[in-house]
């Protein structure tokens, strides 16, 4: 297999904080590689080093079989581009944003226009060309960011949590774009994510990260097939819990995740099990409502994160559960910090990882 990029014994230290420690990683041509790990595990720093906008403290970065030294950085940057997690755009039109990298590469205007048209069509932003980029919604801005990167046809496309903070519709569009880019344009993709589902479906390989180290590398089947200690330690990932599972007579499984919380899952498992509940699958109410949901818990809101049209809430029911609702619901329900709420989710929405 052809190696596009390689990191050897790489470390990165900011002040007295070691962000990356002894990283060894190979990125193969044409693959989608996911960096899966909780926040603060070093994924973003690793991507910035692969994008050549951050220099490692020690270790070696090889790109297309050549060690990249400080003086080669600007050349290497032309072949590797990063889409940031935080949507950011130049204060100009959508068109000019996408044109930026092509102008740097001195692509003639005719060819540039054609490329931009294609990229805009690809991310489904037709008709947005003349709009001010910063007036777009979060999802549209993220799609713009992808178009701005795609148009450069770099060897390596790096994506930092591309669908975090996006509503399901925009997230689905983006995932489709990433898969198509990889399949049809043969672009090598490295993406950071803490979304286990994304990691399960999109990439060919996964590198598990925690505390600045790569703890395991393998295919999704290898990583998710066996319950690794590393994956189980992912408690920092939203709504991922580990506990002892026992089968019930009803054909479901009860997982005891601690603090008196028994989660019912529509699957048959025994022994140590890790489960995940998608924040979008949780129903939030101010009183206990009769429903078909097998899992209903009372708690209070301990964190509120405004994502524009969506609001992410952390509800403490003995363990913190992340719940995602629309801003409209949030306002209409008069929710706030410390509000007492009920969360409910179906046993079939409990995913066993």
């Amino acid at each position: 297999m052809v190696i596009v990029a390689e990191l050897r014994d790489l470390s990165k230290v900011y002040g007295d904080k070691t962000v990356l420690d002894g990283i060894n990683l190979q990125v193969y041509e044409g693959e989608i590689l996911a960096l899966l790990g909780p926040n603060g595990s070093g994924k973003t720093t690793l991507l910035k080093i692969l994008a050549f906008i951050e220099n490692p403290t020690s270790g070696e970065v090889k790109f297309q079989n050549k060690t990249v030294s400080l003086k080669d950085v600007e050349r290497a940057r032309m072949q590797s581009t990063l889409v940031f997690q935080k949507t950011i755009a130049f204060d100009t039109s959508v068109y000019n944003n996408i044109a930026y990298g092509l102008k740097i590469r001195k692509v003639p205007k005719n060819a540039r226009d054609e490329e931009i048209r294609n990229a805009i069509r690809f991310v489904k932003l037709e008709g947005f060309e003349k709009r001010p980029a910063r007036k777009l919604s979060g999802g549209e801005q993220q799609r713009l960011a992808i178009a701005r990167a795609l148009v450069l046809r770099t060897k390596l496309l790096l994506l930092d949590e591309p669908t975090a903070n996006l509503d399901p519709r925009n997230a689905a569009i983006l995932e489709e774009v990433i898969a198509t880019v990889n399949r049809e344009m043969k672009t090598t993709v490295v993406m950071a994510t803490h979304n286990m589902f994304q990691a399960k479906t999109l990439p060919q390989r996964i590198a598990l990260m925690s505390d600045g180290r790569i703890t395991e590398v393998g295919t999704p089947i290898e990583i998710f097939g066996k319950l690794s200690k590393n994956l189980a330690s992912f408690a920092a990932v939203d709504n991922t819990f580990t506990g002892a599972a026992r089968k019930t007579d009803a054909g479901t499984t009860i997982v005891d995740i601690g603090n008196g919380l028994q989660i019912q899952a529509a699957t048959q498992r025994q022994g140590e099990t890790s489960i995940f509940v998608n924040p979008q699958d949780i129903i939030l109410s101010k009183s206990a409502v009769a429903s078909s949901a097998r899992n209903v818990f009372k708690g209070r809101i301990i964190e509120v994160l405004d994502l524009g049209t969506l609001v992410k809430l952390k509800v403490d029911i003995g363990k913190p559960f992340t719940v995602q609702i629309t801003k409209q619901s949030f306002n209409e329900m008069l929710l706030n910090l410390n509000t007492e709420v009920y969360i409910a989710f179906k046993a079939s929405n409990v995913q066993v990882v």
Binding site: I88, F90, T92, N96, K130, A149
Partner: protein
């Protein structure tokens, strides 16, 4: 008793009739202040970019230095420059004293702190990730810095306008290093002081009106430009 109303009417008549003395003074004021701001922009913008984009030891000290100098009395700076440009001074051999060159240079130095301070603030207000965004799209260090400067263009423009206002309205430097020589180095402010002292109040009032019209006019343009920011934004390319 001074006939204020009569003075204003006469002054307006002079302005409307296109009095060559008046317009000569106005032209010199605009020209000297304009060139001074261009000079200050040429050396002040790189300083602002350095202060806004780079971290280095003593940065706060440098920023404080420029901030403090904003309020320097123009007459004190005028005196210092007079000593430097006068015959026995370190730059006396250049023969700049009482020439337009001395006024232009003096005003450029005068407005540099205000230009650097406002432009630095504008550059610092740009999202630091813009630099990384430019780089990851292939920009070199200098291209990325330029992209940040373009994002701060409104602030940089404001720094130019504030500098121009300060230059055109100051008296001390123009008076002390320009010498207020009629037809050569007299500008709106120095001419007002001369005509007032002489009792030529019609001329002084006319010049005063012109100065105010320009200062107000520039501010009106700034407000209009801010309103038109949306249009400016669309036409601007980040490169």
């Amino acid at each position: 008793m001074v006939d204020i109303l009569g003075g204003i009417i006469k002054a307006l008549q002079m302005i409307l009739s296109g009095d060559p003395v008046l317009y000569g003074i106005l032209y010199r004021s605009l020209f000297f202040s304009g060139i001074a701001v261009i000079l200050a922009t040429l050396w002040g913008t790189p300083i602002a970019m350095l202060l806004g984009l780079k971290d280095f030891r003593g940065k706060t000290l440098v920023k404080t230095f420029f901030n403090s100098l904003i309020g320097v009395p123009t007459v004190v700076l005028g005196l210092v420059l007079f000593l430097i440009f006068s015959k026995g001074g370190p730059l006396g051999s250049l023969g700049l004293l009482y020439t337009p060159g001395a006024i232009i240079l003096g005003e450029a130095i005068l407005v540099t702190p205000i230009l650097v301070s406002i432009a630095t603030t504008a550059i610092e207000a740009v999202d630091p990730e813009i630099m990384n965004l430019s780089k990851t799209l292939g920009a070199s260090e200098s291209q990325a810095s330029l992209a940040v400067l373009k994002e701060a263009v409104n602030g940089v423009l404001l720094s130019n306008i504030a500098s121009f206002n300060r230059a055109i309205a100051e008296l001390g430097v123009a008076l002390l290093v320009g010498g207020n020589i009629a037809g050569l180095t007299d500008v709106l402010t120095t001419a007002i002081s001369r005509y007032t002292a002489r009792g030529d109040l019609d001329l002084a009032i006319a010049l005063g009106i012109m100065l105010m019209v320009f200062v107000f006019g520039i501010n009106m343009i700034v407000i209009a430009a801010r309103k038109a920011k949306f249009l400016l934004t669309l036409g601007r390319s980040p490169q």
